[in-house]
Assembly symmetry: C2
Homo-oligomer: 165 residues x 2
Amino acid sequence: MSAGNAPPVGFEKHDHSACVAQALAAAEARCAAEGLRLTPVRRKVLELLLQKHRALGAYAILDLLRDAGFGSQPPVAYRALDFLAEHGFVHKIERLNAFVACSHPGETHSPAFMICRLCDAVAETQSTPAKGALGAAARAAGFHIEKTVVEAEGICPACAEKPKA
Amino acid sequence: MSAGNAPPVGFEKHDHSACVAQALAAAEARCAAEGLRLTPVRRKVLELLLQKHRALGAYAILDLLRDAGFGSQPPVAYRALDFLAEHGFVHKIERLNAFVACSHPGETHSPAFMICRLCDAVAETQSTPAKGALGAAARAAGFHIEKTVVEAEGICPACAEKPKA
DNA sequence: TCTTGGCATGTTATTTCATATCCTGTCTTG
DNA sequence: CAAGACAGGATATGAAATAACATGCCAAGA
Ligand SMILES: [Zn+2]
Ligand SMILES: [Zn+2]
Ligand SMILES: [Zn+2]
Ligand SMILES: [Zn+2]
C-alpha cells in the first residue's frame, strides 16, 4: 500500500484539467485516424495516467480500474498498457517499473526521463542518444540500435528547495 | 590496471580466462587499496558474472551460488550484487532485470549498454548523457542529475549475420 | 581479558511485478 | 449466418525484490 501522497509532478505548474482533456482528445483523434481501437479500458488507463500526472505501477493502475468498475486482474492493466506503450501514448519507466503518460503526443520521438529519487516525479524530454558516443560505439561494434532507454535519476527542483524539512 | 587495448565493446572474441583472472585480480587490488571487503560470496558472484560474460538475473546467480556451496536465498545474491554495484564492479541492466560485470574496472564512468534482443548479449560502452540534449533539458528544468541509465536495444552483429537460423 | 558493536551472512516469509492459459462476447466480413 | 479476429474477464503461476529476524565473526574499547 504505497498510496496516500499526491506529490506534484511534471516539474512545472500548468492547467491540468485542460492538459488532460487535450491529450485525451488528441489520442482519440490519432486512433481514429490510424484505425487503432481506443477501447474503454485503454482510454481509462490513459486518462488515469494523464490525471495523476506521474508514474504509476501496473497494480496501482489496477486499483484505480477496479474503482472505476473495470476488471481488476493484472492482465487487464498490462494489456491496456501494452497497447498504449506500443503506440506511444505512454512510456514505461524501467527504473521504477512504472508507466507514465507521454508528454509529447503524436510526434515520433526517443524519450528521455528525469526521475526525482525523493518524490518520484518524472519529467519527459527528448534525447538523441544515437548521435553521441553511444551511436559511435554502436557503429564501431556493428550493433544496430532499435530503441533506447534513457533515464536520469536525481533531484527535482521542488525537492532541491526543501532539503529535508 | 587498465585493459588499455580492448575496444569498449563486448561483442568480440577474446582470451576469456585471462580476462576473468585479470578482472578479479584488479577487483581484489582495488578492494585492498580502498578498505573494501571482497568477501567469498561477493568474490564468487563477481567471478560468476565475469565467467558467464553476460547478464544474469539474481536468481540465476543464486542457482550458481547454491552449486558452489553458498547460501541460496534471494538476499544472499541481492546483498552481494548491491555491494558490487555500489562500488562499480557490476552494473544492473534495468531493461533485463539482470546484472553484468563491468567492462571498465577502476575508472569512474557513466556506462551505456547495447543489448541484443535476440541473444541477450550485452556490451558496455561509455556515455555522456548529460552533455547532450538531456543535460540541456535538465539545466533548463532545474533538475540535478546524479546518475543515468542508458540502454540501447537492438541487434548484435552476430545475430545480424544469421537472420533466422 | 572481556565485552560490545558493526557487519556480513544465513533463514523464513512476504510483497511486488509480470505472464501463461483458457474462456466468453462482440464485432467484421464473406 | 458461419468463420475468424480481437478485446477483455478469470484463474493460476512464475519471476523479481525486500522485510524481518537470527547467528557468527572480528576489531576497538572498557
Ligand atoms: Zn513521449
Ligand atoms: Zn522531487
Ligand atoms: Zn562499467
Ligand atoms: Zn545477438
